[in-house]
């Protein structure tokens, strides 16, 4: 009971409401002498990466360092592209239980295609600072719940405001297909739950599927009507509708649709539904994906694998059934990324999910790709993120060792070509208390 509370004024900052230190300006940096793990090509021992204006401007063993560059000595260190976590809801949910006011993850109702994660993300969520110091520079953050949960955003984990963080503010629509055990949490579900008479859940599910189909077909017709009117003003002017509007990018094939699905049947249902509706599906979850791998490959459907660290869901499953999902998908030629599937606080374990997959049959190189280049490609930003190549966004992590190893530490971090202070709520608290007598 000594002077614990001499620290009170500072400790107060540890309460809700945190602060992620701002990144510096987009300067010119030369990271010199480290092992450059480009991901897209061979590793470059004793290589140099030059960053300028937010972009990677030079990579190689014999690269000239610009005169104005701030030089970073990376001797003995490793230079990686930042990791991308694609299964999260970063910034939408701070404390899962008992602090409902910090959770902005699910909108009311079943159909919310216009609910954009971009507008709900708190740039000062403590989860952001904690995740980026392990080398995660970019996330897909998505709303959940309902049937059409909303739109996910692809965000860099740096910037004081959502617009400064955004790489693709509207990156994917999220559809949680009603399952045979209901699914969705909107009006249909509520109605089903409240029905006093014996309800046939399969019938409710069928009704939910019908309303989903109708919603998409309505949006399709709406889009065509708007387009027709744009060309031909003699037509009656169609009324605008923000909800239907929001579905158009997905219906036009500009925006993929994330379908959370783990069981083989749910995965098949999602892919078939996407085909039927001409949507571009991404499966998220994918626990049973190996069982339907050839189907996924045939339809060229990528999978965000969030189940690597999950317990086997069936009693008789082999102990390693989920550890080996990525290896099996790789062998079957299915495109995939690895994700923690965590809302935010634990996405910092992303590298170990990939590492665990590598411990169970996936090559180390593929494990690294599964958290860098492949997620970028799945979300259509493979030309901007996910590897160390000239012209790409300068999301760079400089580490003491293999980035997927738990003991490895981060020494420097750049997001969008800005140096990011390696501080987080956790480093701050550590500094406050580690030497307290």
């Amino acid at each position: 009971m000594t002077a614990a509370f001499a620290l009170a004024p500072i400790a107060a900052s540890a309460q809700l409401g945190s602060y992620n230190p701002s990144p510096g300006p987009q300067g010119t940096f030369a990271i010199r002498g480290g092992t450059v793990v480009t991901v897209s090509g061979a590793d470059i021992p004793n290589g140099t990466v030059v960053i300028s204006g937010g972009k990677i401007t030079a990579v190689g063993a014999n690269v000239a360092v610009p005169a104005n560059a701030q030089v970073i000595d990376a001797k003995g260190l490793y230079v990686y592209p930042g990791m991308i976590e694609t299964g999260s809801s970063v910034g939408l949910s701070e404390i899962g239980q008992g602090a409902v006011a910090t959770v902005d993850i699910s909108e009311v109702g079943s159909f919310n295609p216009n609910a954009q994660a971009f507008y709900g993300i708190d740039p000062h969520s403590a989860h952001i600072g904690v995740a980026r110091v392990v080398g995660i520079t970019t996330v897909v953050s998505r709303p959940t719940g309902g049937i059409m949960s909303g739109e996910a955003a692809l965000m860099n984990l740096a910037g004081d405001t959502p617009p400064k963080m955004a790489v693709v503010p509207r990156v994917a629509l999220v559809i949680e297909l009603p399952r045979s055990g209901f699914g969705g949490r909107g009006f249909a579900r509520a109605a089903a739950l409240q029905q006093g008479a014996p309800a046939d859940a399969n019938r409710v599910r069928a009704a939910q599927m019908d309303s989903l189909r109708k919603m998409l077909r309505d949006a399709d017709a709406y889009g065509k009507a708007q387009a027709a009117y744009a060309k031909d003003k003699s037509l009656p002017r169609p009324a605008h509708d923000v909800v239907l509007d929001a579905m158009l990018p997905a219906l036009n094939g500009q925006m993929p649709v994330i379908f959370p699905a783990d069981r083989a049947n749910d995965i098949r249902d999602a892919v078939n539904f996407a085909q039927e509706m001409h949507l571009k599906p991404i499966i998220m979850g994918g626990q049973d994906a190996p069982a339907v791998a050839s189907f996924l490959k045939q339809h060229d459907v990528p999978v965000i694998v969030t189940a690597v660290m999950h317990l086997p869901s069936r009693e008789d499953d082999p102990y390693d059934v989920n550890y080996t999902i990525p290896a099996k998908l790789a062998a079957a030629g299915v495109t995939f990324a690895i994700s923690t599937g965590d809302r935010g606080s634990e996405i910092r374990t992303l590298p170990y999910n990939a590492g665990m997959a590598a411990a169970h049959g996936l090559s180390k190189a593929d494990a690294l790709r599964s958290v860098t280049l492949w997620p970028a490609q799945i979300f259509g930003v493979g030309d901007r993120l996910g590897s160390i190549d000239v012209g790409k966004m300068a999301n760079i992590v400089v580490t003491t060792g293999d980035m997927l190893e738990a003991r490895t530490d981060t020494k420097y971090l750049f997001i969008d070509g800005r140096a990011v202070p390696l501080e987080s709520k956790h480093t701050q608290m550590n500094a406050l208390f580690k030497d307290r007598p």
Partner: protein, 441 residues
């Protein structure tokens, strides 16, 4: 009272190892307490580590395992587990010291096997966190497939689970409870938790005094007095007062931990471990001074309000202050990869490799009172060791063979054979099931 204690002790007599000798050759041996030994042999015999050295010769009939390029470490100890139990909480009352995890152990839980595959050999199976004074724990060796009696760790100190904070106040579920008209259970505040502790130990003191008086009378020749009633609720608390039972206390916030340490001090006992103790780093000196250990998550945080100030530097700060700290799972899932959680402790706070390994081995043994038997690779200790295909502090490594008392309980090759056997058994059962006569009235 003595009779029951004797029965419990009898149940924990070591069962002689059924395994023949095993010689593990040419491994990198992580002893944890005596450093890293390269190209070293390890002889397991009669359930014990019989020899450590170079070029050991295999006794007759020994199984010899070439572990070149591989690592051997002590079996992982998980100080906070809810694996293999058919009930977790007796949450009906504020004090349920009378309930025993031992009574509900399920030795067939498949999660035991999954954890063996992650190199875990000993777990501390704890009552849940529903009430201030929960039930009695069980320390178990993961001898999957054996009888419960054979799995109980011989000589482990008995313990009891306490719990403080949100789970006890039931704040998260109070609204729902009220909606269903259920009465609220005391206590609903941290203030009430202190009162529950004080009340329980006050009653335990009186109970002990009653028995002491009676025993004194009997000793003096009294043959007519009826013995006082046995009270299974208070007996374990008397054991706590007498230092014969460890307290493992679920707690999150620094203030509640301090409260418990002060109550314990007042009643003259030591809290053996704070479980979770996510804010332990804020009062590391006080914890160290109380002689209390702490067992926590490597990096879980923010899942509820009292977990918002958790930091992964917790273990390092505590250890630097002299606290015996461990990393635990509290989860069937995480228990399978505690090696990775230990490695995080190198990153967060700069533990050495040996210190990191200690958080999942030796320190856990200390917290359970079995450090003379397990937790490090030393001659004479139980042959609870794990062969890894690489450095266990690497995410790329997997456990290949897990020994307990010299016997193999997981082996990666054997596992493949078992899968085939399971598939064959299933096919046979399905055939028989189909062939079974339909029962038609």
């Amino acid at each position: 009272m003595a009779a029951l204690a004797a029965a419990a002790a009898a149940a924990q007599q070591p069962v002689p190892s059924k395994a023949g000798p095993t010689l593990i050759k040419n491994a990198t041996v992580l002893t944890v307490t005596k450093g890293k030994l390269e190209n070293t042999d390890l002889l397991l015999q009669n359930g014990k580590i019989a020899a450590i050295g170079k070029n050991l010769s295999a006794p007759a009939g020994a199984q010899v395992i070439d572990a070149s390029g591989k690592y051997v470490m002590p079996g992982i100890i998980d100080p906070h587990s809810h694996t293999m139990i058919d009930a977790v909480n007796e949450g009906s009352l504020s004090v349920t010291s009378m309930v025993r995890i031992r009574d509900v152990l399920n030795p067939t839980d498949i999660n035991i096997y999954r954890q063996l595959a992650g190199g875990v050999t000993t777990i501390n199976v704890l009552h849940g966190s529903a009430n201030t004074i929960g039930g009695q724990n069980a320390v178990v060796k993961l001898k999957y497939g054996r009888d419960v009696d054979e799995m109980l760790f011989p000589g482990a100190m008995p313990g009891i689970k306490f719990a403080l904070g949100e789970n006890v106040t039931q704040k998260n579920s109070q609204t729902a409870a009220q909606a269903t008209g259920r009465p609220l259970r005391y206590p609903s505040t941290r203030m009430g938790q202190e009162e529950v502790l004080r009340d329980a130990f006050t009653r335990a003191r009186d109970y002990k005094a009653t028995w002491d008086d009676y025993n004194a009378k009997v000793k003096a020749g009294d043959k007519t007095s009826v013995a006082p009633e046995r009270d299974l609720e208070l007996e374990p608390l008397v054991e706590v007062l007498e230092g014969k039972r460890y307290v493992h206390a679920h707690s999150y916030r620094a203030d509640e931990m301090l409260m418990l340490l002060n109550v314990a001090k007042e009643f003259g006992f030591t809290v053996k471990t704070l479980q979770h103790g996510l804010e332990g780093y804020k009062i590391a000196s006080e914890i160290a001074q109380a002689g209390t250990g702490l067992s926590t998550f490597a990096d879980e945080w923010s899942y509820k309000v009292e977990a918002y100030d958790a930091i992964p530097y917790n273990v390092a700060i505590l250890m630097r202050h002299g606290v015996v700290a461990t990393v635990n799972s509290d989860s069937d899932e995480r228990a399978r990869r505690l090696n990775i959680d230990a490695a995080k402790m190198i990153r967060y706070g700069g533990l050495t490799e040996d210190e990191a390994l200690k958080t999942i081995t030796y320190n856990g043994a200390v917290q359970l009172g079995v450090q003379d038997k397990v937790g490090s690779i030393e001659v004479g200790k139980d042959a609870d060791v794990v062969i890894w295909n690489g450095d266990p502090l690497s995410v790329y490594s997997t456990a290949e063979t897990t020994f307990i008392d010299g016997e193999i309980f997981f082996d990666i090759k054997r596992d493949q054979q078992m899968r085939q056997q399971a598939a064959q058994e299933r096919a046979a059962l399905e055939a028989q099931d189909r062939g079974r006569r339909a029962i038609v009235p």
